[in-house]
Symmetry: C2
Subunit: 352 residues, 2 copies
DNA sequence: CCGAGGTGCTATAACGATTAAGCACTCGAT
DNA sequence: ATCGAGTGCTTAATCGTTATAGCACCTCGG
């Protein structure tokens, strides 16, 4: 099918031009569909391009156009935010879908070291490797990120940012999520004494989820939650369980800021003979895959990561197109997903 | 810290040159450490570069050098191989680690449509967007892939390829894995009647795993396995379980070609009151995350996906550097991971 | 005092694509 | 016939970087 000419060196506009008997400029215009080139010539050029297997050289085009046509997904690789987490995969899927539809390559970037005083994010954009970047939640206080946003380069952040009010970001309503989870435990399962296992409180989403939990309790006229701080890792869920076991688990519901901690916690409680949901109700947050496959399944608040990624990409392309966005801040809704861990009865296989 | 000059247009070699009072050529040489430029001038140039926040323009460099410095990870997005699967995340982590250490951006590519008779893989490379590509297991028979490999462009395949003997690939010893899994069930758990739930048999790895299973049985003087063909999806595990339940589960071990099917199968058997491992032993394949968190945990054959990705990247860089690889085919070993589903007794929390 | 050989930079060209400006020609309207 | 407006192409310049050739100057050996 493809009349490829292996190893025959690259085919450039010049090759087509000399094959057809015009100048490279004419070929360029013809291939871009300019009406300045005659219909007949245009056709001959298109045929020749196909036959020679012409592919536009991206470097040449990028140099001329002053834009590469690619976007970057930046994942700061910290102990807290491990690249390789399902979350990023979901984001990536969303980003790549939108990006594909625009024919824009996606560059994955995970390094963070500074070089010559210019941080990796900025380097990526200034070097014209990518025209814009989506930055997946760095720590709330990231100096590099701050300078990146300040530089005015096209950047979309994943996750609500309080410290960077000018930044464009796409996030999720974590407060509502925390509230929803807690209210479910209160209203459906009669919880009155609630433990909240939070994420690291330098993360905005951890703060917001805790905040939501507090609000729900306050609204119900119940006392403050007992808060244990974790770090979103399964291990910290295990640690929290140990702490609760040591000090006496005096609660009827545990609202956890993510599913991984919830899993570690549940597993450890089970080892100690405390059954979820019979002895204590449990609800997680995220629903990136884990919560569905545990026993019991973890009731949780679903974060539409794929949607977030897609929306972030759309916003970024908007910035690149020069559209000043109507909303600089996009908040997507979360959704309660009921499984077994909260205590809800489930029909035979009410998975998903 | 960074003396960034927001929006002040790009800083080029020319800017540094005129700041220092030399030509762009001198600046270029100085920054690349040429000894043709005086020590004193070199230093002044470096200082100016830092102060102006100079970053090499990748398009300019790529155009001149005839190479972009990036590599691509191509994931054909078919129903069978869904981009977004943990497998690809692990690959990506491995690739990106090696790639980062060489300062090479990684481009994720997932589209497959052909355009002007040139497939997406080839387009990516011919356009000089990437210098080489790692292609994550397409179907065994992929015309586009065939033509890509034939074109001689720098490509490393993930997974053993029988149909493309000239291709460079990095895979895993699936036969040994299938054998190992089956032998474990035979030798440790006395299995004599074995069911094998395979992957789609147009996939080499599915074939190899089945082959391994057969060999182990033959070596033990046992009869052929009863083979049910799945498609690596959880749903096909569910379907297989139904089939077994309908026809009567006459087996003491089920060797499954991946963990997702094993999970679907196990879940469905459990619903029917058949307990794993008490009523029948089960062993999976892959260990990409799922197998660890189910109840019981799924004993499985671990595929070192991250390692594969890293090795593939290394091989690709080797190709790009012009080293003719000693081995065009890299086979990495698999490892048995014992959890609960096979019937092995486990210490309190022998997870991982 | 002259040529050989450094040293340290400049000048130039090239990578490939694109676009503004320009040129030659045709055609219709005046 | 003559001007104005197309039509269809070419010319030339540009994007930023870098390799190669070359030029000016200095120094040292003879």
């Amino acid at each position: 099918m493809s009349r490829t000419r292996a190893g025959s060196g690259r085919v450039t506009l010049r090759d087509i031009a000399s094959a057809v008997g015009v100048t490279p400029a004419a070929v360029s215009m013809a291939l871009r569909g300019s009406n300045r080139i005659g219909k007949d010539t245009t056709e001959r050029i298109q045929v020749a391009a196909r036959e020679l297997g012409y592919v536009t050289n991206s470097a040449g085009r990028a140099l001329r156009a002053q834009r590469s046509g690619s976007i970057a997904l930046v994942v700061p690789n910290t102990s807290q935010h491990v690249f390789g987490h399902p979350y990023f995969m979901h984001l990536l899927v969303g980003v790549s879908e939108v990006s594909d539809s625009r024919g824009a390559p996606v560059i994955i970037s995970t390094s963070v070291e500074s070089e010559h005083g210019i941080n990796a994010y900025e380097r990526l954009l200034r070097s014209q490797v990518a025209d814009g970047a989506i930055v997946a939640s760095a720590a709330a206080q990231d100096r590099d990120l701050e300078s990146l946003v300040a530089s005015g380069l096209p950047v979309v952040l994943i996750g609500r940012s309080v410290t960077l009010p000018d930044a464009v970001w796409v996030g999720v309503d974590d407060v509502a999520g925390g509230e929803l989870a807690t209210r479910h435990m209160i209203e459906e399962h009669g919880a009155r004494r609630v433990v909240h296992l939070s994420g690291p409180l330098e993360h905005q989403s951890a703060l917001d989820r805790l905040d939501g939990c507090r609000r729900a309790l306050a609204a119900a006229g119940l006392p403050e939650p007992r808060v244990i701080q974790g770090d979103f890792s399964e291990d910290s869920g295990v640690a929290a369980a140990r702490e609760l076991l040591d000090q006496g688990l005096d609660a009827d519901a545990i609202v956890v800021a993510n599913d991984e901690m919830a899993y570690g916690l549940m597993r450890t409680l089970a080892d100690a003979g405390i059954r979820v949901p019979d002895d204590v109700g449990l609800i997680g947050f995220d629903d990136f895959g884990l919560a569905r496959v545990t026993t019991p399944g973890i009731s949780t608040i679903r974060v539409p990561a794929e949607l977030i990624g897609g929306r972030a990409a759309s916003e970024l392309f908007g910035l690149l197109d020069g559209d000043e966005p109507a909303e600089r801040h996009v908040v997507l809704p979360v959704q309660l997903v009921v499984r077994g861990s909260c205590g809800c009865p489930l029909s035979a296989h009410d998975k998903n």
